[in-house]
């Protein structure tokens, strides 16, 4: 069920590579764990991120979760629609619920991420 064109992290972010850029969001598993999302704290455009650095936070009614950058790069766009309709992340986590677009610093870092099949196996491990 997890799109094969995305890369995944153990912290349940996804990364979609588009040339030298990449889109980042949180996975369907992550949004289900959080429940109804009501607030997303987005970074400033231009922010330079190291891999694993906090991009922002996603808050549901009950909990708060940091979102970490899967790779190093510069924030070149944020999904400003999330300010008004944060539940886009619940409705379409791998699509309209994207969080930021990055200019990737070092494409070799992508090799550290999981493919869909590996991520699904990883989730199975968490559920048992």
């Amino acid at each position: 069920m997890y799109p094969e064109n995305l890369y995944y992290t153990k912290d349940h972010e996804w990364l979609k590579v588009e040339g030298e850029e990449a889109v980042v969001g949180i996975t369907d598993f992550a949004q289900k764990q959080l429940g109804d999302i009501i607030y997303v704290d987005l970074p400033q455009v231009g922010k330079i991120l190291e891999a694993h650095q906090t991009i922002g936070t996603v808050e549901s009614v009950k909990s708060v979760s940091d979102v970490y950058s899967p790779v190093s790069g510069e924030v070149i766009e944020v999904n400003s629609e999330l300010s008004q309709t944060p539940d886009l992340i619940n409705k379409d986590p791998h699509g309209q619920g994207w969080i930021v677009r990055l200019k990737i610093k070092d494409k070799s870092e992508i090799n550290n991420l999981m493919k869909a099949a590996d991520y699904e196996k990883y989730l199975e491990g968490l559920e048992h």
Partner: protein, 364 residues
């Protein structure tokens, strides 16, 4: 982990389960916001079988419960319920609870918080020693369902032989629900009209399923502990461990209305009288976050840059659609409209004291 008799039903319904106070409980089914709004506008059904049921029985039961609690239990006739507390000699909380008068003056049911049941039982056992009473913890035998919301009566009436139209708030009766023997009270923890249904039956899923069947066409949803918390906070109902503890007094919690000083002696009376005379140094108040962000329990609270307190309860409130919470503030900062700051991660957000409850249902 303990399981309620409805555990399998929750899992069949697709509930997300969590551990709470040693119990495996549903935290949400469809989603906290939908469940919350269903209770405010239609109805919701909760499994709250984790709650504790402790009986105090014997010739001196009334005198014993009077001594353990600040409210005036003598005002209850059989069939009536009262919100009160178990207090320490310091006037702080062992727990908050409902007292049901089953028989005057010799049989009372105390409904206490799941996380505190064992502690409360031990406390009551110890403090009741001078009285001619028996204290019996029947928490594991009882299942408890809560049906809450404006359509609660309409949904429950076809399933019970109790005339609900004759049952006033904070009253109860015995009868059948879906063919099983129950105690039904017009009480709840949501700020809505509704009922709490207690049964010793081994198969309470019969009641659960009957209410779901009757209620679903009317918009009823099963509701988990997630929305139970947001509902109770909107209605400014206390959560033990967050808002009231053995470090906070009944007066500081702004629950003076449950203290009846004139009723005679009770645990904590002298301490509470003294505190009343000397004046409170701090008080629990409701707040709204003015800036964008949500305050959560234990977030630091600042006045003029100095940390003075921590958030007790704090959440996004789905019906009033605001970030709300409760906090103990120094008494000079408890006026409505007083502004202060809450540390949320690396920022300090502006908040202000507001009137409570945050939500109050319109009486028909």
């Amino acid at each position: 982990m303990k399981k309620t008799r409805l555990n399998a039903v929750h899992k069949e319904s697709g509930a997300r389960m969590i551990e709470f106070a040693g119990w495996e409980m549903p935290v949400e089914y469809k989603g906290i916001i939908d469940e919350h709004l269903a209770v405010r506008t239609k109805a919701g059904l909760f499994d709250v079988s984790h709650m504790g049921e402790i009986f105090v029985e014997g010739p001196e039961a009334l005198a014993c419960v009077q001594y353990l609690t600040p409210n005036d239990v003598a005002k209850l006739s059989p069939g009536q319920v009262q919100y009160t507390a178990l207090t320490t000699p310091e006037g702080t909380f062992v727990d908050d609870m409902l007292v049901y008068c089953l028989s005057l003056p010799d049989r009372y049911l105390l409904v206490v918080n799941a996380a505190n049941t064992d502690k409360d039982y031990a406390w009551i056992k110890e403090k009741s020693a001078p009285f001619n009473v028996q204290v019996i913890n029947r928490s594991d035998e009882y299942s408890q369902l809560a049906l809450q919301g404006p359509l609660a009566q309409e949904i429950l009436q076809p399933l019970t032989d109790i005339d609900l139209s004759q049952m006033k708030s904070f009253h109860f009766a015995f009868g059948k629900v879906a063919g099983l023997d129950c105690l039904v009270s017009r009480t709840g923890y949501t700020g809505e009209d509704g009922f709490e249904i207690y049964t010793l039956a081994e198969n309470p899923e019969v009641i659960w399923k009957a209410i779901i069947k009757e209620g679903t066409p009317k918009g009823l949803l099963p509701v988990g502990l997630g929305a139970r918390d947001t509902l109770r906070l909107e209605a400014r109902l206390m959560l033990y461990g967050n808002d009231i503890t053995d470090k906070t007094t009944v007066l500081e919690a702004d629950l003076k209305w449950i203290i009846k000083f004139q009723k005679g002696d009770f645990l904590g009376k002298a301490a509470l009288e003294k505190q009343l005379q000397e004046g409170l140094k701090r008080k629990l108040v409701g707040f709204e976050v003015v800036d964008k962000g949500i305050a959560r329990p234990h977030y630091p609270v600042f006045i003029k840059g100095e940390k003075v307190s921590e958030v007790c309860s704090g959440t996004f409130a789905p019906y009033v659609k605001k970030a709300i919470g409760l906090v103990y503030l120094p008494i000079e900062y408890t006026e409505i409209g007083t502004e202060f700051e809450i540390g949320i991660r690396d920022k300090k957000l502006k908040a202000k004291v507001v009137p409570t409850p945050f939500y109050k249902r319109e009486k028909k």
